[in-house]
């Protein structure tokens, strides 16, 4: 049976996040040839609708309201439910982002449905779709299926490839109006700490430092390398505990789990808790003075050496490479 699948698109600083396009690809697979309906919630999101269609959505519904300028679970759930009730889909896909993680359980609970969170791969299509998700922070995986009722999943960024971007695609764009009431949460202030604007969990390149970075200033060459590669910086718990950086950068079993295309571990020994947060990265580079460091066991490429010598040289080499491109 084909399914109608609703996908929540997510904007950040005026543009759709990559995970929204990945979610459309996931929805397409689940739909088994059915319809994929994009949903955008915000105060001014209509201009983003075409982009969802170019990435494969069949049509897009926007809900605009001043109270949707910032995400709140009350505001967004009221807006999403208005669309849900109009469309009555068989499946729903969100990104497993801060917003998706916060909102999806509320909606699933309202609908008394299951919710398969943090999906990294989908096997099969339509009714036979089975969802793979990491458990024990990536030390193991489980295959999960929906038993009955609404199928609801969130997908982990960077794992499901988006469909081709095709600007010749067109589709219907409509809007739903809602009355948003009883917001129980007021967002008084947002402090942006992510320095270079690349979100750690969505970054294609992560340069992470451990105790070997030795100080807060020691992160400067790592940041330079990350910026050069369009990536984000991360850290081991050791580096956070030693106050070299903020806990928001921590990668590991407690902390963030990342799966970038390239993970560069500098001065990180490779405790089991840290590896749980990064071992599923596609390519891992380890730089460590200690040739016995366990990080080398999961690394694709390793350099035994001082990160303060190696990283500046890498920056120079990459700059050379970029010039010749």
């Amino acid at each position: 049976m084909t399914k109608k699948v609703v996908v929540l698109g997510e904007a950040r600083e005026g543009a759709l996040r990559n995970v929204s396009f990945e979610a459309i690809a996931a929805a397409k697979k689940i739909s088994g040839g059915g319809e994929v309906v994009g949903v955008l919630l915000g105060d001014a999101v209509q201009s983003l609708a075409d982009e969802m269609i170019h990435y494969g959505a069949d049509r897009v519904i926007t809900v605009e309201h001043p109270h949707l300028k910032q995400y709140t679970s009350d505001g967004f759930s009221q807006a999403f439910m208005a669309v849900y009730e109009q469309e009555n889909p068989e499946a729903v896909v969100f990104g497993h982002t801060a917003l998706g993680k916060d909102l999806s359980p509320k909606i699933a609970s309202k609908l008394a449905s299951g919710l398969i969170s943090d999906v990294t791969a989908i096997e099969g299509e339509g009714d036979d779709a089975v969802f793979i998700r990491p458990i024990y922070s990536g030390k193991a995986f489980e295959k999960v299926k929906n038993k009955n009722g609404l199928l609801f999943i969130t997908i982990r960024p960077n794992n499901i490839a988006p469909l081709n971007h095709d600007t010749s695609r067109s589709g219907d764009k409509s809007s739903v109006s809602v009355d948003i009431t009883n917001l129980r949460t007021i967002i008084a202030e947002v402090v942006r700490k992510s320095t270079e604007g690349v979100d750690l969990s969505e970054a294609k390149v992560v340069v992470a430092g451990g105790r070997g970075v030795k100080s807060e200033e020691g992160f400067a060459p790592l940041q330079e390398l990350a910026t050069l590669l369009g990536g984000a910086i991360g850290a081991s718990r050791g580096a956070c505990d030693a106050n070299y950086c903020d806990y928001s950068l921590q990668i590991g079993q407690t902390g963030k789990v990342v799966t970038p295309d390239l993970y560069i571990a500098a001065g990180i020994s490779g405790a089991i808790q840290h590896m749980a947060g990064m071992s599923n990265s596609k390519v891992i580079v380890a730089i460590n003075k200690d040739p016995e460091a366990t990080i080398f066991k999961v690394a694709d490429y390793g350099i035994v050496g001082d990160l303060f010598e190696v990283i500046p040289m890498m920056i120079e080499e990459i700059k050379k490479l970029k010039r010749t491109d």
Binding site: P105, L115, Y136, K147, K193, Q253, L262, S279, M313
Partner: protein, 257 residues
């Protein structure tokens, strides 16, 4: 103030994971309180000490989860509740857990519920917000600071590295993010006192719940370990050559830069 903390017993973070008979093997494994739940317990104790009241820790599980509840009591919680589903349920999912916990809490006077933002085993982070929704109360996830003044609440939450300052009010459910506090270790007197603190044990029957009402909506059909990675390549030569080779490999072989 009536404070409840949702707690889960999980594998120690040091444990290596093995699979036997399609399940995660747990014989001989060390178990702990889910690390994020420890932040929740610590915060609950601090809130109680500042505002008076009582901290009750709740878990769903088998008899062996008593150990983690005793640890929470030794940290300073006042009461513990074990909802023992061992005889009634073979399969549970987040829908099941939330429904059971909400059923227990629905006729209690609840001011504040704390939970970890995610459990390090299942990793879905659903149960807290689901419970709040079932109880009809507000929730804020991944918090790193909590200030309560009367019924007004000021929170700082972590949003993918950015921090959001939030104003809301009790009753409320919050989920703890790392950085919220530094959980205490149980003291020896604490451990002695914990033995005498009340630990109530309930089953689904006591909550007037049928197995059918909490039947899981999703089903795990297979559990497996990730493929072992082939040994990587340690580059050789002087550092400058290694770096050149590395950048070249990342560009032409791995194609990631």
């Amino acid at each position: 103030m009536n404070i409840y903390v949702l707690v889960k017993r999980t594998f120690d973070t040091e444990e290596k994971i093995t699979v036997s008979n399609g399940k995660i093997a747990d014989d001989g494994a060390e178990f702990i309180i889910n690390p994020y739940d420890e932040y929740a317990i610590e915060e609950a104790i601090q809130v109680r000490d500042a505002h008076e009241g009582e901290v009750t820790v709740i878990t769903i599980g088998g008899d062996e989860a008593q150990k983690q509840l005793r640890t929470a009591l030794a940290m300073g919680a006042d009461k513990a509740v074990l909802i023992n589903t061992e005889d009634d349920l073979d399969e549970m999912d987040e829908y099941t857990s939330a429904k059971i916990i909400a059923e227990y809490l629905k006729d209690k006077e609840v001011d504040l519920i704390l939970a970890g933002n995610v459990a390090i085993d299942g990793g879905s982070g659903q149960v807290g917000p689901r419970v709040a929704e079932l109880l009809g109360i507000n929730y804020v996830t991944t918090i790193t600071n909590l200030e309560i003044d009367g019924t007004s609440v000021k929170i700082i939450r972590d949003v993918e590295g950015d921090s959001e300052t939030i104003e809301t009010s009790l009753p409320l459910l919050v989920t703890a993010q790392q950085g919220l506090n530094e959980p205490r270790y149980p003291s020896l007197p604490g451990i002695m006192k914990a033995k005498k603190k009340p630990l109530e044990e309930l089953e689904l029957d006591d909550l007037d719940l049928d197995e059918d009402e909490v039947e899981a909506k999703t089903e795990t059909i297979e559990i497996y370990l990730p493929q072992a990675k082939a040994a990587g390549r340690i580059l050789e030569g002087d550092v400058a050559d290694q770096v050149k080779e590395l950048v070249n490999l990342l560009n032409t072989e791995a194609k990631v830069i």
